[in-house]
C-alpha cells in the first residue's frame, strides 16, 4: 500500500507521555501509538452520515 510520510515534532515531555503509554502496553512502539491514536480519534469523531 502507498505510504506518505508526515513529520511530527515532539519535545521530551510529549515523548515521555507517549513512551509511558507504550510501556503500559497500549501499542508496541511510539510510531505505532501515533498511528493508533489517529485511527482511534477517527472512530471517536466519526463523520455524521
Amino acid at each position: 500500500m502507498a505510504e506518505t510520510t508526515v513529520t511530527i515534532h515532539l519535545n521530551q515531555q510529549q515523548k515521555d507521555l507517549l513512551d509511558r503509554t507504550v510501556a503500559a502496553g497500549v501499542a508496541p512502539d511510539r510510531i505505532a501509538l501515533i498511528r493508533l491514536a489517529l485511527r482511534r480519534y477517527g472512530e471517536l469523531h466519526a463523520e455524521k452520515g
Partner: protein
C-alpha cells in the same frame, strides 16, 4: 452522632478566626436569611497554605456546593475542607472580597464595613497582616456570568435556617465574616447576623467524604528551594542565583511517521485546517494528544 463544641452569633460588621481541628465541622447558618458570608481558611500549622478560589473553581466550577472540596493554592493543592451540606446552593468563587476602596471609590465612604478589613481584623488575632487576607469562598452569594462574559451579582435567595457545613480535612484556621455590603444587592441591602456552630463530626459525616488520592506534586515546604518566609519587604537579587527550570531546555525531535492511504485520508478529514493550514505534522500532533486527553489510555 455529632457533638456540639461551640456556638455563637456572628454579629454584623464582624468576623472570627476559629481553630478547627481535622474532623470538626463549621456550620454557618442564616438567622433572618439573605446574608452573604465570606470565608477564608489557612493550614493551622503553615499559614502559607491557604484556600484558593482558582484551584477550587477549576475543579468544581464557579458555584461550589455540597460534595465539593475547598482546595489549597498551588503548589500545595490539597483538599482542606469538604462541603458536607449546602441548603441554599448559592456560593461563589469568582468575586473578590469587597474592600474599603470599593466603598470609597463607588459610594464615597470614608469608612464602611467591608470583607477585606473585617477578615484582616479577625485574622489579626493570629498575627496575620492585611496582605494575608486572600480571595474568599463567598457563601450565600448569587452570582453568574452574562452572555458577554461579564460577571454579575444578584440578590440573595437564602432563608432562615439555610446553612453550609464545612468539614475540616486538616487542622485549619477558619475565618468566616459577615459581608459588609449593605448598599449593594449582595445581601438584599442589609447586614444581618449569622449563626456559627462547631461540631465534632460523626461517623456518618466522615463516610460522606469521597476518597482522596494523594500526589507527589502536592508540595510541602520540604520540596521548596527557598524555605524561609521573607521578613524584609524590599526585594533584592540573589547574585548566586542560577535558573533551575524543570525539563529545560525544551527540545523538539522530528519524527517521521509513515501513514498508509487510509490513515492519510483520516488525517485529511480530522486535521484542524483552520488552526494548522497544510501543516500536517502539527495537525497530527493535535490529534494524538487530543485522543490522549479524551481517552486517558493510562494513569
Amino acid at each position: 452522632m455529632r457533638t456540639l463544641i461551640e456556638e455563637f452569633v456572628l454579629e454584623p460588621g464582624t468576623g472570627k478566626a476559629l481553630e478547627l481541628r481535622k474532623g470538626q465541622i463549621l456550620r454557618l447558618e442564616q438567622i433572618e436569611g439573605g446574608q452573604c458570608l465570606d470565608f477564608n481558611c489557612f493550614n493551622l500549622d503553615d499559614y502559607k497554605e491557604f484556600f484558593h478560589c482558582g484551584r477550587t473553581r477549576t475543579l468544581h466550577g464557579i458555584h461550589p456546593t455540597r460534595g465539593d472540596f475547598l482546595w489549597s493554592a498551588p503548589p500545595r493543592e490539597r483538599a482542606m475542607m469538604y462541603i458536607l451540606a449546602d441548603t441554599a446552593g448559592a456560593n461563589d468563587v469568582m468575586f473578590p472580597r469587597c474592600s474599603a476602596n470599593l466603598y470609597e471609590s463607588v459610594y464615597g465612604y470614608d469608612a464602611h464595613t467591608n470583607c477585606q478589613d473585617i477578615q484582616a481584623e479577625a485574622q489579626r488575632e493570629y498575627g496575620l497582616t492585611p496582605d494575608d487576607v486572600h480571595d474568599s469562598f463567598n457563601l450565600f452569594m448569587c452570582t453568574g456570568v452574562d452572555e458577554n462574559g461579564r460577571t454579575y451579582i444578584t440578590r440573595q435567595v437564602s432563608k432562615p435556617g439555610d446553612h453550609v457545613e464545612l468539614l475540616a480535612l486538616m487542622d485549619v484556621l477558619a475565618v468566616p465574616n459577615i459581608c459588609g455590603a449593605d448598599v449593594m444587592r449582595t445581601s438584599n441591602f442589609a447586614i444581618r447576623p449569622a449563626k456559627v456552630q462547631i461540631f465534632a463530626a460523626s461517623d456518618e459525616d466522615f463516610a460522606a467524604v469521597p476518597p482522596l488520592r494523594s500526589w507527589r506534586t502536592q508540595r510541602t515546604v520540604a520540596d521548596f528551594k527557598v524555605k524561609a518566609i521573607r521578613t524584609e519587604r524590599k526585594l533584592a537579587r540573589d547574585p548566586d542565583y542560577r535558573p533551575e527550570f524543570v525539563n529545560t531546555p525544551i527540545d523538539y525531535e522530528a519524527i517521521e511517521i509513515a501513514l498508509d492511504a487510509e490513515e492519510l485520508a483520516l488525517l485529511g478529514r480530522l486535521a484542524r485546517r483552520e488552526q494548522y493550514g497544510d501543516r500536517d505534522g502539527e495537525a497530527l500532533r493535535d490529534i494524538v494528544f487530543s485522543w490522549w486527553e479524551e481517552t486517558r489510555p493510562i494513569g
